[in-house]
């Protein structure tokens, strides 16, 4: 793994590293990827229809609404404004 790839994956992951952290992480991730790469030698293809974990259409939840959750309790782990979650202003 190179720095550019790590940067890209960090962007996808919404993580930042200091230069020093990045060096460590790059080394560790390289080791990890090397381990993962050993599966490339195994020749096998995936067929999602053969997972056999499907359920039937009849097993789905019936469309019956239930009362929603008390807003205050739902938001007990944040500080809402006008019952809304607050985030830094989004640009379009």
């Amino acid at each position: 793994m190179d720095i550019a790839t790590l940067d890209h994956i960090c962007a996808l992951s919404k993580l930042n590293f200091t230069e020093e952290e990045q060096k460590d992480m790059l080394g560790q991730m390289t080791d990890i990827i090397d381990l993962m790469d050993t599966i490339k030698e195994y020749d096998i293809t995936y067929d999602d229809t053969k997972d056999h974990n499907e359920i039937g259409y009849g097993d789905l939840r019936k469309d019956i609404p239930a009362p929603s959750f008390p807003t205050e309790k739902l938001q007990q782990n944040t500080t809402p404004r006008d019952n809304c979650y607050v985030v830094p202003k989004m640009m379009e």
């Binding site: 994956i9 996808l12 992951s13 919404k14 080791d31 990890i32 599966i39 782990n77 607050v86």
Partner: protein, 482 residues
């Protein structure tokens, strides 16, 4: 009264015969925690008031003569099980102050039985790890030797049971996180079939692998607890409606004629000799009971750790994306959404969690998906079909639970590859969705417990409980002393 080595089944009889009161039992454990958990660091939150309230309600029910099997039984919960009004941290700074507004289904079921909640126990951060040393709040130690790890990720659960801080605990198992710490701490831990216990309210690590299960002092206790928490749940579409009456129904029945498979790949160079010897001794013990040992092979084992880390990290990367500081959890600073969310996650997550997120996003990202994630799914299918073939000719499979006994704290620090490959014995069970139970089969020269795993057919927990129980009845455990 010393309740440290008492099983849930024994405590049930004592409570019902009024030999001890529920409040007395609760107090006994609470004072044990106060006295000794400073050495073990298994609890993150001790719920003293809750415990006494629970015990009072339990006593009323016992007095009324309609106690359920877990009424008044003091239990600890892994800190990734949501408890309404009680802090649930996942051992992460990210959720250091998180108070769920709802109960996990498994917890709800324990509440229905009027169990006694002693508290929330430590784990590896977001259940990622095998040592409980990635916990941001309580780096739990092994009660058999506090210089050693208790295993993980349910290290707090296993250590608390082992140290006698509770009668039993719930853990969760994604790649061995119940069985391996149970093995390291010399207790019994059951990972049920995927879909047997609802995952609703279990903070997700890897959704296709996670499963809640009990850690206790006996296979019988594991069965008692599984009886309480199992069952299909309308809140979890992956829970399965497979009827059961009593997971302990086969307890005490002879295992004569049972076919026990020994997959050779699990007894290779990666596993310490002392472990192999202890497990094989147990195998021969089974032979003496009339069981037949059958050779078999799981040839994909050499790719299992890779498949496991690719699948679990991919799911984890997605599951942990919701921690952005907005709705709950550590809220970082920043002038834009992007700055704020990055700051929240940089500060909230520890190094191991970050590694898994990076690996997961790498495996899913454009250009790498087919080579890694999709390949891992193919391996999963292959592993499942290998297990199916084994179960065509055997009733259960016997393997070591971990390649070694509990190792010294710090021994695997900063060596993720070493840490990951140590999961070799447990991960295939999760990949295949099978039930497995760890019980102690011996001790090494230093007195550290060695665990073995009995793996069963899907939804056949009662057979592995029966098998583990049969061995436990022949075995004299050496309990730890603090």
């Amino acid at each position: 009264m010393d309740l440290k080595n008492i099983t849930a089944a024994q405590l049930r009889r004592m409570l019902d015969s009024k030999e001890i009161g529920a409040k007395e039992a609760a107090s006994e454990f609470l004072s044990e925690i106060k006295k000794n958990d400073g050495k073990v660091l298994s609890f993150i939150t001790v719920t003293e008031d809750e415990a006494m309230k629970n015990a009072e309600a339990a006593q009323k029910r016992i007095d009324a003569g309609n106690a359920a099997p877990l009424t008044g039984i003091p239990i600890a919960l892994k800190d990734n099980l949501c408890t309404d009004g009680i802090r649930t941290t996942c051992s992460s700074k990210m959720l250091g102050d998180f108070v769920p507004p709802y109960n996990a289904t498994a917890v709800e079921k324990l509440i229905k039985d009027d169990y006694t909640l002693l508290g929330k126990v430590s784990m590896d951060e977001f259940a990622m790890g095998g040592s409980t040393q990635t916990s941001a709040f309580a780096k739990t130690k092994n009660p058999y030797n506090t210089e050693c790890v208790p295993g993980g990720s349910s290290g707090g659960s296993a250590a608390a049971v082992s140290a006698g801080f509770c009668t039993a605990a719930l853990g969760s198992d994604t790649g061995g996180s119940i069985r391996q710490p149970a093995s390291f701490c010399g207790v019994t831990g059951l990972k049920p079939t995927y879909g047997r216990v609802s995952r609703y309210g279990l903070v997700a690590f890897a959704s296709s692998l996670d499963q809640i299960g009990p850690i206790a002092r006996s296979a019988e206790d594991c069965g008692i607890i599984l009886n309480a928490i199992a069952g299909v749940d309308p809140h979890d579409a992956t829970s399965k409606d497979v009827p059961f009456t009593d997971f302990n129904e086969k307890l005490g029945k002879s295992i004569s004629g049972m076919k026990i498979a020994i997959p050779k790949e699990f007894y290779g160079d990666a596993v310490d000799d002392e472990v192999k010897t202890a497990v094989m001794n147990a195998a021969h013990e089974y032979e003496k009971m009339g069981a037949e040992l059958v050779d078999c092979s799981i040839s994909t084992l050499k790719y299992a750790v890779q498949a496991y880390y690719l699948i679990s990290s991919a799911e984890a990367a997605s599951n942990l994306s919701r921690y952005d500081g907005i709705k709950y959890g550590l809220r970082g600073e920043g002038h834009s959404f992007d700055e704020m969310i990055r700051d929240s996650r940089n500060r909230g997550f520890g190094a191991e969690v970050k590694r898994r997120i990076l690996l997961g996003n790498y495996a899913l990202s454009s250009g790498y998906y087919d080579a890694y994630y999709r390949k891992a799914l193919a391996l999963k299918q292959q592993i499942i079909s290998e297990y199916n073939a084994v179960f065509d000719k055997a009733d259960v499979i016997l393997t070591p639970t971990a390649p070694s006994v509990a190792y010294k704290i710090g021994a695997q620090d900063n060596d993720p590859v070493k840490m990951y490959t140590a999961d070799i014995c447990t991960v295939t069970v999760n990949i295949a969705g099978l039930p497995a139970i760890n019980t102690t089969c011996g001790y090494n020269a230093a007195g550290m417990p060695i665990g073995m795993s009995i793996v069963g057919r899907r939804f056949d927990e009662s057979t592995i409980i029966q098998t583990a129980d049969a061995f436990e009845k022949t075995f004299s455990p050496v309990r730890c002393t603090l």
